[in-house]
Symmetry: C2
Subunit: 126 residues, 2 copies
């Protein structure tokens, strides 16, 4: 038995400077910048969200602008296998998550380590 849920919506921005993008989305969505540089490498910024909400992240990327979603789980292997059985494909393992591709063409990430305890709106899978 394992759990998973949507953990984040990530606004991927093809920009040289993530700060300007972060400021726009912070103001547009009325969310404070909780962390302008999450990993200290200028690639991730976090907007403020409630404990019952998915994270809202900005990511500096090389590819065209898009939004992707992250799924968090307490059992990465089981969750990736579950999603593969539904038709998703593994693309690449990065740090502590799998990048996968849905049959609809959307890329998404399955993240091993929950940022906080899996709480609201989690699913439990047999």
């Amino acid at each position: 038995m394992h759990k998973s849920r949507i953990s984040a919506f990530v606004i991927d921005c093809k920009v040289d400077d993530l700060d300007t993008a972060t400021k726009f989305w912070s103001r547009a969505l009325g969310r404070a910048v909780a962390n302008p540089d999450q990993d200290g490498d200028g690639r991730y910024a976090e907007l403020a969200t409630g404990a019952d909400e998915p994270f809202l992240l900005l990511q500096k990327v090389e590819h065209d602008a898009r939004i992707h979603l992250d799924i968090e789980t307490d059992d990465l292997d089981a969750e990736v296998a579950r999603l593969e059985a539904l038709g998703a494909k593994r693309l690449q393992f990065v740090k502590r998550w799998w990048v996968m591709q849905a049959p609809t063409g959307h890329r998404f990430c399955v993240v091993r380590k929950p940022h906080r305890e899996i709480g609201s709106h989690a699913n439990t899978w047999d």
Copy 2:
């Protein structure tokens, strides 16, 4: 004074048949299909979400797969003007919403009619 908040994340799918896409995302995210054909034209399907969550919608589109977000507001003109002042551009008015483009290149919609009362996580703007 007006209000706005994130109202939906929309999974845009370039598919002939939205049902298959809806079934995948329903299973992947562990969300029941709340409405397989919201407008009766085979273009919108809704996954089940809690009252404190943004809607999760599937949309059948002609462009490449992406995810976009919707902002809902009780004053469309004021909200669009607020977002323009931040650097977003109006692209097109459709039915009851404006399609806008962020300075980061992301397209998003600003929706006039809240699907339900604006509640959790709303911002109030002067």
